[in-house]
Structure formats: C-alpha cells, structure tokens
C-alpha cells in the first residue's frame, strides 16, 4: 500500500518540479487550440471522429528563404506583374519578404493589374477547425498625397457633393498660401449637383445658395507645387472627413481562402479597407496616380484575420455561422492566399512594389493534447502539471507549519505542566471545537483582500496556523508519559536542563509520530486549499487544482468532463498517497501495530 502511495507521490512531485520541461505551454495565457477541445485521444472514439487537430500552413513563417521553394505559389493575371524573393526587405531584421512588382519601365500603364500569392494545403479532418487565424504583413507604396487640393475639371461622374466643408481650402489668389475660410464657390447654377461645367471650389461650406462669382484663379491648382497650373487635374476631397486627402490606396490586398475540387468556392476574408491603413476614399478621377508612388519606409500594421472576429464574419456576410465551419465543411484541398491589385494609370515610370511577409494560416483544431482545452483554449494538461506545484507546496508547507506549531505547543504543555498545560490545552480544545472551514473562509475573506500578491503565502500560513491542535494533543500525551520514564529522570539527576532533555530525550522518542502526523496532515491542507480556491478565495493569478475547478464553476462548464475530472482525481490521488504513507509510517514506527507473523 505504501508502495502505491510512494509511486503516486514521486510521480506528482516529478510533475511539480519538472513542470516547464514536461509541458512547453503557458497554462494561463497561451491559446493552444479551440475552446473546449476534448483530448486528442478522444478522436479514436466514435463520438470524437469529427474532431480536428491543429494545423499550421507554414511551420517556419517569416519568409527567411524563398517561399516559392516551400510550397508558396506566385500566379499572375497580368504579364506586367512579377514576383520575387527579396532578402533585403523584411518586417523584422534578419529575414526576407516576398515582393510583387508592377513594372512600369516600358511606359505608363493604365488600369488595374492583379497577381496572386497563395499556398495550397490539405484539410484531412472530417470536421471543421474551431477557428482559423490568417496573418500577413504588407508594405505598399507610399500613398501620401501632395499637399495640394485641386480644383479643376469637374468631377467626372457628375456626382452631387453633399458635404463640401470636407474639401480642403485652396489657394484663391494663386500665391501658394492657403487661407482658412476663403470664400469658396461651386455649383454655379445652384442645382445642388456638380455638373459638368461647374467650377469646384473648396473651403468653408458657404450657405446655400452661394453667390460667389466664378474666379478663374480657382480653376486649376498647382499640383506639383512648382507654380505650373495644369489643366485637367483631379479633384480630391476628404470624403470620409478624417482630415486626410487620401489618394486612395494604389494597391488593394484581399486575403482569401478557396476550396478546390468539385464544390469549388472562394471566400474573400478581407475587404480593401481592412488591409489598408487608411480608409480608402473613392475618388472621382484617378489621375492621382500621377504622383510617383515610392516604396514606403514602414510596414503597415500586421493583419490578423481571426475567424472569431466580427469583421471577418461581416466580410463573409455571416451572422450566426462560424466562418471556419462554413469554409472547412469537408475534407479536401484548400488554398490560402492574397490577391494583390495594383492600380496604375500613371505617367510615372517607376516600378510599384508590394512586399509581403509573415504570411501564415493557423487552424485551431477541435481536439487537443492529453487533456484538451478549457474555456479560453488553454492547455488543461499544463494547468494540471503546474497545479501540482501549488497543491503540493501548499500541502507540505502548511502541514509543516501545523506540525511545528503542534510540536511546540504539545511539548510546552506536556513538559511544563500545571498552569501552562491547563491554559494551552483549554485554548487547543476551544480551537478544536470551532468548525475549521468556516473559520478559514472568514479569515481568508477578511485578511486576504489586503494581501494582494502574497495571497498564496498567506493561505499557507493560515491553513498551517489552523492545523496544529490535534497534533498538539497527541504530543502532549506522549510527553506526559515520556517525562516519567527512568531515562528522563536519569538525565535530570545528571543535571540536564529542560532544553537538553527535550531535544535529546523526548523529541527523538516522538520523531516517528512527527513523520506520521506530517504525512497525515498534508491531505487536509491540500483539501483546504482546494476548497478555498474553489470558493474563489485562492490566488487567482496562480493555477491550482482548486482554482481549475473554480474556473469550471464560474464558467458553468460542469459538462466538460476533461476539465472537471483530472483536478479532482489528482487531489484525491495525492491525498490518498499521503494517507497511505502515513499509515505505513505508523506501522513502521509503532511496532505494536504490526501484524504478528
């Protein structure tokens, strides 16, 4: 029996000590798979046959070497587009990126040019993943507009402009100074529309109908700042009123997932706006591309497309349905990629480059590891392993404190006798009568709040300080009998003091008792910690077995068997192990308990 106890104990102690070696995952902060994923081995049961596992498209993301050598593909729709690995440009030092280029060296190009960068993979599981997260970093040409707002030929589409104040002030006197509140006129026939032939002026919105005369100076604006007024410049406004005269993004990047095969389908999981850093206004005249679009210095913020995000659902027009369940509804071949469209009708001859880096797709499975995942997708096995640390530490330390106190009180009461004995034992008896758990709850609830980070330590001390009474009684009884023994009298006769007799003659005689009670006190301390943590009184920053069950309770996850069962079994196993060892030690130190052979 003690062998079983020892094996269990050694096993859990090993778990506790070697926790970071056994499991690489952070038990409380690292999402390892979909939420509430059952253990991976559950897949071999009939109920678990539809479960999937984690899959990562690119296990070495970052394009440190040419990605087309590793399964990524470049495909162009237009021959002017080309793709190449660029080892100089990267979102992070030391790696590379993939560059898509629109070559404009042969002359101005008008129109949109598209290329695709993608990777095809197999989804072999019968059920969909719990979640997918696509990631991508992009660097598009700088689209910073010139500081000029242009008035000139009328909006090509003849659209009505409703909010004119958004248009930047223009230089009404042609001297390159922009004055706020210049009188601005437009819509010369006051019909509310910018019809062909109307003159566009920009500034503070005048009250309708405007009476400002046509001013020839307003007709054209110096788009280059060089003092030359060109006819036919574009008209730009700040359509979304964000203060930016965006030229519109010259590049759009759309991330998609395709299902190949008979039931081919393609899903764009981004729209343009979610890729571009600035919202892209539609402009009336795409002449903006006159400006040389140069390589930007900075990368746009990384794009993360999480199937749990509402924006991804919105792009897919999904309200209730999970995007990952929709897309990966059957096993087969899938493609993850981006469509890059470069807009050009520029006079410029410089190439336009689009860089891509850190492109990856992570599919979170619906099953995971040895013990599955919890409500956040954290690894339960890691929690169990790290929880062993807390539970064992609390159990051993609290038991140690309790036994040390009990020994002290028992020795004092037993050896000193008389008034000391009477007072100490009365106190002990009173504490013994008071129900332990309610006292613990009240103490921790009151004191715990003021402790903050030291809460676990406080818990240990409080449990220890409430666990000495039984042992004190036992020690006292032993000491009472021991101190009447001849060897103590002999020591006394030889002139030994109380300290000497206690440490040399009495303690060695109750050392077995100490070990036995230490072993038997640990389960009580472990159970106390578990109960307090379960009630939410433990240290919530540290994972313990009681805290795990507390989380089950808080999240109403009583039906998640792989979360409910392991912590309880562990508590019971460790407690039983200590009880067994305690009983065995008892038989070892107390020969009268041994069976006669």
């Amino acid at each position: 029996m003690s062998a079983v106890g020892l094996i269990v104990l050694v096993l859990f102690s090993f778990f506790a000590l070697a926790a970071p070696l056994i499991t690489p995952y952070d038990p409380q902060h690292e999402v390892v798979a979909g939420v509430y994923s059952p253990p991976a081995w559950y897949r071999s049961f009939n109920e678990g046959r539809l479960l999937s596992q984690n899959q990562v498209l690119d296990s070495h993301p970052g394009f440190k070497t040419d990605p087309t050598q590793q399964g990524w593909e470049f495909a162009r729709t237009d021959s002017q587009m080309s793709g190449a690995f660029d080892d100089k440009t990267s979102s992070e030092p030391g790696s590379g990126s993939y560059r898509l280029t629109l070559d404009r060296s042969a002359g101005p190009l008008n129109g949109s040019f598209t290329a695709t960068f993608k990777r095809t993979f197999d989804w072999t599981y019968k059920g969909p993943p719990a979640r997918f997260v696509g990631s991508l970093q992009v660097k598009t040409p700088d689209a910073t507009p010139p500081e000029l707002v242009i008035v000139g030929s009328t909006p090509a589409l003849g659209q009505s402009l409703e909010i004119d104040a958004r248009i930047k002030y223009i230089d009404t006197n042609g001297n390159a100074a922009w004055d706020d509140g210049e009188p601005v006129v437009y819509d010369t026939n006051s019909d509310g529309a910018y019809n062909t032939g109307d003159i566009m002026i920009v500034g503070v919105a005048p009250t309708q109908p405007t009476q400002l005369a046509f001013d020839p100076k307003l007709k054209f604006v110096d788009s280059t700042g060089g003092g030359t007024w060109n006819a036919g410049e574009a008209v730009l406004y700040d359509r979304d009123n964000n203060g930016l005269y965006g030229l519109g993004e010259p590049v759009s990047v759309v991330v998609f997932i395709e299902r190949l095969g008979n039931d081919y389908q393609k899903w764009d999981i981004t729209d343009r706006a979610s890729v571009n850093t600035t919202a892209s206004p539609q402009i009336y005249n795409k002449n903006w591309a006159n400006y040389p679009l140069t390589d930007s210095k900075t990368w746009q913020s990384p794009i993360t497309l999480d199937s749990l995000d509402s924006s991804v659902r919105a792009n897919l027009d999904l309200v209730d349905l999970d995007p990952s369940a929709l897309i990966f509804s059957s096993p087969g071949q899938y493609t993850f990629g981006v469509n890059v469209t470069v807009n050009s009708n520029s006079m410029a001859l410089t190439p336009m480059n689009v860089y891509m880096d850190d492109m990856n797709l992570k599919l979170y499975g619906t099953s995971w590891g040895l013990l599955g995942t919890d409500v956040y997708g954290y690894d339960i096995w890691s929690q169990l392993i790290y929880g062993a640390r807390v539970s064992l530490a609390v159990g051993l330390l609290a038991a140690f404190i309790g036994i040390a106190l009990g020994l002290l009180v028992g020795l004092m009461a037993g050896y000193m006798g008389n008034v000391v004995d009477e007072v100490l034992m009365r106190f002990t008896d009173m504490l013994l009568v008071i129900p332990g758990l309610p006292l613990l709850i009240v103490l921790v609830a009151v004191i715990g709040n003021s402790l903050g980070p030291g809460r676990l330590f406080a818990l240990i001390v409080i449990i220890g300080f409430l666990g000495w009474m039984g042992f004190a009684r036992v020690v006292r009884a032993q000491v009472l009998s021991l101190k009447e023994r001849p060897f103590v009298e002999a020591a006394k006769a030889a002139g030994a003091g109380a300290g000497h007799i206690t440490t040399r003659h009495i303690i060695p005689n109750i050392v077995g008792l100490i070990y036995v009670n230490l072993a038997l006190a640990v389960p009580g301390a472990i159970l106390s910690e578990a109960a307090l943590s379960f009630l939410g009184l433990g240290d919530v920053t540290i994972i313990s077995w009681g805290r795990m069950l507390n989380l089950v309770e808080i999240n109403g996850a009583q039906n998640i068997w792989w979360w409910v069962v392991p912590p309880g079994i562990s508590i019971a196993l460790v407690s039983l192990a200590f009880v067994m060892i305690g009983f065995s030690l008892d038989t070892l130190f107390n020969p009268r308990l041994r069976e006669r052979r």
Partner: protein, 347 residues
C-alpha cells in the same frame, strides 16, 4: 461529582466557548477594511458642506463603534473594552447589522428568506440517509470482518474522505445531469416556479420537482460523510461482538440478525449517537461547499455570495451562527453521553 455538577461544568465550558467565538469574530472583523468604505465615500463627497460631512461621518462612526461619544469636532476614541462590549451585546442579541447585498437586517435574511429551511432540508435528508446507511453498512462490515465486503466498504469510505466535496458534486452533475439528464444541475425548485406569472403548484404537486432538485446535493453530502459513520460503526460493533453477552445471545440460538442489530449494535450505539452530534460542524462545512456547487439557495450558498460581495455583516453573522450550532451540538453530545451511559464517571 454527580450528574448535576457535570452539567454545570459543561454549561460553563460552553459559555466560555461562545465568548471565545465572539472574541475571535471581533478580532477578525476589526481588521475588515470594507466597513470603513461607506464612511470614506461620505467623507469625500464634495456636494456636502464641510461641517455636515463631518457630522455625518461622526454619526456613522458612532453607529459602527469607531468612536464612543464626544462631538464631531472633538470625538472621544473608543476604548477596546467599550468596543468589545458593544460588539458582544450585538452578537448575543443577534443584531448583526444590515447586509450590504440585500440591505435587509442580516437576521431577517437568515430567518425569513427561506434559506434556513432550504439548508435544514438538505442537511436533514442527507444526514439521516448517511447515518442510516453508514451504520447499517458498518455493522455488516464488522460482522464480515476481513471479507471482500468489509475491505471494499472501508476502501470506499476512505476514498470518499479523500475526495474534495465540491468535486464529487461536479462529477455527479456531469454524470446525472449532463450525461443521463436525470436531474437538474442547480437550484432548489424548478426555475418556472419562480416566474411571477405562474403560481407554484400545490404542496403535493411540488414533491416530484423538489425531490429531483434535492437528489444530487443530498447525495453529495451523504457521500461526503457516510464514511465516518461506517468506520465508526464498524469499529464499535466489532468491539461489541467480542463481548460475552454476544456469545450468550448466540448460545441462546438467537438468529444472527437479532444478535447483530439488537444486541451488538444497540450496545455499540452510544459513540454513534454522540458522533452524530459531533459531526455537525463537519457537516456544515460540507454544506457550504455543496450548496455552492448546486446553487442551492441556503445559508451556505449565501455565505459564498457574501464572500464575493465582501459582505462583512453576513460573513460574521454566518460564522457566529455556524460556530454556535457546533458548540451547542457539542454540548448536547456531552449531555447525551452522560444521560445515555450510566457507567460514565463524571470528573
């Protein structure tokens, strides 16, 4: 010393214990920071004039026993003895103040809210079952000492001892509620009875619904402490079985069942009766946890909610009442022992 002297001694002992609990409560809750919270809110309220603020704070401190007289400008600090005397009177008269959570007097929330009944129902049912089943199995185990039956039940009771109560409850919910769909997961009564538009059915019609809600919490509590009775009954009956009167009974040709339950168990029942009283404190601890697991709207669940609310008045009232129950149960067990066993020597 006769029985009367014994009674007096026990009574004094009990009263000292109650005083000790009040003292303990006093020491613990003097540290509670939440009590000063409401005063701080008043003290910092900019809408009130300075003098008014001071007066309100003073009145509030006077009420809470933080100052003991004087005026707002010149308050007289409390002597610790004054404070304790006030506290003592409040506790003894069950004047626990007002719950932060409900705003009602705490004692009213305990007595009139139905929580007391719910807790007593749960405790009553599970302790009766645990005692009957534990003693019955323990007696049989003693009779068949060393058999498979014996070791199986001893192991089972040791195992349920080592299992955390709340975990047993969670596993029972997992099995009986989520897998088999036999019993509801939580609550005292079906949720639709609480809705205002539907009056709860009459008493007879309520019984099935109530039993289905009671079953799992009662089972959890029963599992929690039947083992103690089993082991105790086994030990005492085993001892009784070695007595001469058992041999006599057997020699008379009495059936084994009569020997076991009439002669052995009856003589072994004394420690069991007193243990039933002594187990009370243990039982209350189990009830706090069990009620929390099953959201059973009793005093234990209320204590759990009070933790979350930092409801000092409720916490100290509950602790005091629980401790009081245990002390009274102990007293009862001592007296019972004296009454039931004429052989006892009063010392």
């Amino acid at each position: 010393m006769g029985f009367r002297g014994y009674l007096i001694k026990r009574t004094i002992n009990t009263l000292v214990l109650i005083l000790f609990v009040i003292l303990l409560n006093f020491v613990i809750f003097e540290l509670l920071p939440g009590q000063q919270g409401s005063i701080a809110a008043i003290a910092e309220n900019p809408k009130l004039p300075q003098a008014v603020r001071k007066q309100i704070v003073f009145d509030e401190e006077l009420r809470l026993g933080l100052v003991c007289g004087g005026t707002a400008d010149n308050p007289v600090p409390c002597q610790i003895w004054d404070k304790f005397a006030k506290y003592f009177v409040a506790m003894v008269t069950f004047n626990f103040g007002y719950s932060f959570q409900t705003g009602n007097p705490v004692i009213q929330d305990i007595v009139q809210s139905g929580r007391l009944e719910n807790t007593l129902l749960l405790l009553g049912v599970s302790s009766v079952i645990a005692i009957v089943v534990g003693i019955f199995l323990g007696t049989l185990a003693a009779r068949k000492r060393g058999s498979m039956f014996d070791s199986a039940w001893v192991t089972a009771s040791l195992t349920t001892f080592s299992l955390p109560t709340f975990w047993m409850g969670l596993v029972l919910i997992l099995i009986f509620s989520f897998t088999l769909h036999w019993f509801p997961t939580s609550g005292v009564t079906p949720a639709e009875w609480i809705k205002p538009e539907s009056a709860p059915p009459n008493f007879i019609a309520q019984i099935p619904g109530r039993i289905s809600h009671l079953f799992l919490p009662a089972l959890t509590l029963t599992l929690f402490f039947y083992g103690g009775y089993l082991l105790l009954a086994r030990a005492t009956v085993m001892e009784a079985l070695s007595e001469d009167y058992i041999t006599t009974a057997r020699a008379k040709g009495l059936p084994e069942r009569t020997v076991l339950f009439k002669h052995a168990l009856k003589n072994a029942s004394l420690p069991l009766v007193t243990a039933a009283a002594l187990q009370f404190g243990f039982l209350l601890s189990g009830a706090i946890i069990t009620e929390t697991v099953f959201s059973w709207d009793g005093l234990g669940y209320w204590l759990y909610q009070a933790i979350g609310w930092r409801d000092g008045p409720v916490l100290q009232a509950m602790f005091f009442i629980i401790a009081l129950c245990v002390i009274v149960a102990n007293f009862a067990s001592d007296i019972l022992y004296g009454v039931l066993d004429p052989r006892i020597k009063y010392e």
